[in-house]
Structures are given as structure tokens and as C-alpha cells.
């Protein structure tokens, strides 16, 4: 068992330090790179918080949709393959909902401020 603080607490502490203490002191192209760096740490923090729940739900949906067992990557490969072959499409019961939920979960980690995502969140 690893000790505390958790990875989430550490990445968040580093991101906050860069945001609050370093950003005001940096200019030019490095200010842009610093913003990217902070965004990356924020993304990691979100993924650490959200990935486990999202992955479990995604695997459960895929298992049902495909009627097979496997790792998350194997299940996604199988779904990709069926769509490519035309064996599954938007008329397949549950497929559209699954793709929407999976994509929303990705955006919640990757780009929660993306305008399309904000709009779709408001639909629920």
C-alpha cells in the first residue's frame, strides 16, 4: 500500500502552485506552454477521479451490447470491428446511447469546457 498524499492530491497541488504562483511571473511563449502544462495536470487530476467509475460502466454496457466478455480494449475493438463490418449501426438497440455516454465520459476528463459538451450536458 502506498502512503498518502494520493496522486490526485499531488497533481492538484502542483497545478495550483503553477497556476497561482508561477503564472503571474511568466510571459511570452513560455506563458502559453505553462498554460498547456497546467491543463495537462488538471486533465490528469480529473482522470484520476473519474476514470474508474467511467470504465466500469462502459465495460458493463459493452458486455451487454456485444454479449461477450473481455478487457475494455478488447470490447472496444470488438465494437469497432462490428461497426466497420456493418453488423452494428445506429439502429442497433443501445448503441447510440452507449456511444453518447462513453463520449460524454471522455469529454468530462479531456475538455469539460468544450462548448458542444456543455450544450449536451444541459440536455439531460
Amino acid at each position: 500500500m502506498q502512503d498518502e498524499p494520493t496522486p490526485t492530491e499531488l497533481t492538484k497541488a502542483v497545478a495550483d502552485f503553477l497556476r497561482n504562483e508561477i503564472t503571474p511571473a511568466i510571459g511570452g511563449h513560455n506563458a502559453f506552454k505553462l498554460r498547456v502544462a497546467i491543463n495537462a495536470l488538471d486533465l490528469v487530476t480529473r482522470q484520476l477521479a473519474l476514470q474508474q467509475g467511467g470504465d466500469v460502466a462502459e465495460a458493463a454496457r459493452l458486455t451487454q451490447l456485444l454479449d461477450m466478455q473481455g478487457s475494455l480494449v478488447e470490447l472496444n475493438r470488438a465494437l469497432a470491428d462490428r461497426i466497420a463490418k456493418g453488423e452494428a449501426d445506429l439502429r442497433t438497440p443501445g448503441l447510440s446511447d452507449h456511444l453518447w455516454q462513453t463520449t460524454m465520459d471522455k469529454l468530462a476528463v479531456d475538455q469539460p469546457n468544450y462548448a458542444s459538451y456543455r450544450r449536451e450536458l444541459g440536455r439531460k
Partner: protein, 328 residues
């Protein structure tokens, strides 16, 4: 160093020029660079831009038109009245600067967030979609016989290349598979008319001032194909920068874009434009994945590239909004 070299080159074609100052690299990977500099001249300073592959970097990537072709296209566009920087000089071997060309520097803004939000562009914004329609018509109206050799693209070829690139990443993306199927099922076939296509007609490649569009840049991806591709590409949500209800670059409507296009004597085909918008959305998604690959395999191991890889999911939600829209 670079200013001396530039100065020697400029003296060979610009009578009266006494030197070059303020040389600054604007952007550049390993194989292609953009420099800004001022030509000192008794009649006043001339702002200029150099776009080049440094000596030793000749071959362009397979999709690229090549810098020589870019210079020809820019000159022809300028002569046809398409807002374009004037080409001043095409580099010669004796210049010792590599391959590429020099052009007049056009003042203005290329950064989308400023164009969409800053007060100084408030009057221009409502005009831009129509202007871009007219400009696209100008590009598509260039006489094919005059143009340099460029790759010939069709929807089927583009789908093939996107699929090949996507499969090369070996990472399953069911939404991309859905989009590939949709594109194959809805391929409208070769267009009746094959024209010059700019290939990257979007924010970043447009210099905009308070008075509207001042220049179209970057002909690197120019090719022959379906002219509706350019109109679809500028409608891709990734270029709306948050203004998602204004499909044309986040500033205008498709109707205005088409009206400008048709006022210039050409016909827009909204169904084909929609098709190319889906294609463009997938294309940007595949390009984002490509950035991740280049980050991983080097030589550009930058966190910017890595983070662009995490933007491919943006195109997945946009593809779902296009292909499987949910109710209100």
C-alpha cells in the same frame, strides 16, 4: 547571420534596399520555418515574410503541395483578386536560404479567439461569412490550366486515407468507425466540377482586420477536387471556438457563406457541404490522434502535441451531434 543572408538576397531583387532588420522566427518545425523581417528602403520600410525549408530539407510530406507550388498559387490568387499577400521573391539556389519564397507582410489578426471576441472586430464579424463565400468562389474560379501540378482528391480517396491513418494508430474508436461507415454510405461521388481546393480554409490561415478578410494564407494542402470541400471544412465545429451556433468559423451562417459564394457566380451544394463537414470533423480527429503519435515516437516530444491528442474526443462528440443528434 540570418539578417545578413536575407539582406544579400533582398538586394538581388529589390533595387534600393539597403538591408534587413527585425528578423524574427514566427513558427517552425524542423523542416519548415516562417520568418518575419523588415526590408530597409529609402522609400520606407517594407514588411516581409519568409516561408522556407532550410537548406537540406527539400522533400515535402506527401500531402503537401510544396513551397514552389504554394508561391505560384499565392501569386495567381493575388492576380485574380483573392485577398493574398503579394509574392516578392521565390528563393533561388544562389540565395543559400533553402527553398521557399518571400511575401509582403499583411497586418491583421489570425488568432480565432481574438477575432471572435475583441471589440475591434465587432463590425467585421457579421460580414465575414459572406466575404469568405466570395473568396472561396475566387479560389475555385482560378483557371485549372494555369495551375501547378497538385494532387487530385476525391471523397473516396479522402475516406481511404483517413481510414488508413486511423487504422495505423491501432486504437479502437467506435465513433470514428461510425463516421467512416456514414461517409462511405453517403459519398456523393466525384463532383461535376473539379477545381482548385485550398484545403485548409479556416481560422489561423485567414488574416482578418477590422475591415474584414485581408489575406488567405497557407496553400500547403491545396489540391484539385470537389470545391464544396472548402465550404465544409470552414463549417467544422473545431473552428468555431465555442461559438457553436455560428457554423462558419464561429462568426456566421451557412446561408451567408452560400450567398457570398453564389453572388460571385458559383453554386453551393448544401448536401455536399454537410458531407464534407462530417469528413472534416473526422479528419481533424484523425489529425489529433496523429499528433499523439508524433509525440510518442518523436522527434517532437512536446506536451502541446501530447495534449492535442486529447482533443480527438472533441471531434467524437461533434460527430455524434452530426450523425446521431439527441432531442432537445
Amino acid at each position: 547571420m540570418i539578417e545578413e543572408q536575407l539582406g544579400r538576397c533582398v538586394a538581388s531583387w529589390c533595387p534600393g534596399a539597403t538591408g534587413v532588420t527585425a528578423a524574427a522566427k514566427l513558427s517552425g518545425g524542423a523542416s519548415q520555418e516562417t520568418w518575419s523581417f523588415d526590408i530597409v528602403h529609402p522609400d520606407g520600410v517594407i514588411g516581409a515574410i519568409l516561408r522556407r525549408s532550410p537548406p537540406g530539407y527539400g522533400a515535402a510530406p506527401s500531402r503537401a503541395a510544396g513551397l514552389d507550388a504554394e508561391a505560384v498559387l499565392m501569386r495567381l490568387a493575388y492576380e485574380a483578386g483573392v485577398p493574398s499577400p503579394k509574392v516578392l521573391h521565390v528563393l533561388q539556389p544562389r540565395d543559400g536560404l533553402g527553398t521557399g519564397f518571400m511575401m509582403a507582410r499583411v497586418e491583421g489578426e489570425t488568432i480565432a479567439r481574438k477575432i471572435l471576441r475583441d471589440e475591434q472586430f465587432a463590425k467585421a464579424r457579421p460580414m465575414l461569412a459572406r466575404q469568405l463565400g466570395q473568396i472561396a468562389a475566387g479560389i475555385h474560379g482560378l483557371e485549372v490550366a494555369q495551375l501547378p501540378e497538385l494532387r487530385r482528391m476525391t471523397a473516396a480517396k479522402e475516406i481511404f486515407e483517413l481510414e488508413r491513418d486511423y487504422r495505423g494508430f491501432d486504437w479502437p474508436r467506435p465513433v470514428f468507425e461510425l463516421a467512416l461507415r456514414w461517409l462511405r454510405d453517403h459519398d456523393p461521388g466525384p463532383s461535376d466540377e473539379v477545381t482548385l481546393v485550398h484545403g485548409d480554409f479556416r481560422h489561423g490561415n485567414l488574416i482578418i482586420g477590422p475591415d474584414g478578410v485581408r489575406a488567405v494564407l497557407d496553400w500547403e494542402l491545396a489540391h484539385f477536387g470537389d470545391p464544396m470541400e472548402d465550404l465544409g471544412w470552414i463549417c467544422v465545429n473545431s473552428w468555431r471556438f465555442g461559438e457553436i451556433d455560428k457554423p462558419v468559423g464561429g462568426f456566421g451562417t451557412r446561408e451567408d457563406l452560400f450567398a457570398g459564394y453564389e453572388a460571385a457566380g458559383r453554386r453551393a451544394d448544401p448536401d455536399r457541404v454537410k458531407f464534407w463537414e462530417v469528413m472534416g470533423t473526422l479528419r481533424w480527429g484523425v489529425m489529433c490522434c496523429g499528433m499523439m503519435q508524433r509525440f510518442r515516437s518523436g522527434p517532437d516530444h512536446s506536451m502541446e502535441r501530447a495534449m492535442i491528442g486529447r482533443r480527438s474526443s472533441e471531434t467524437e462528440i461533434d460527430l455524434l451531434r452530426l450523425l446521431a443528434p439527441r432531442g432537445k
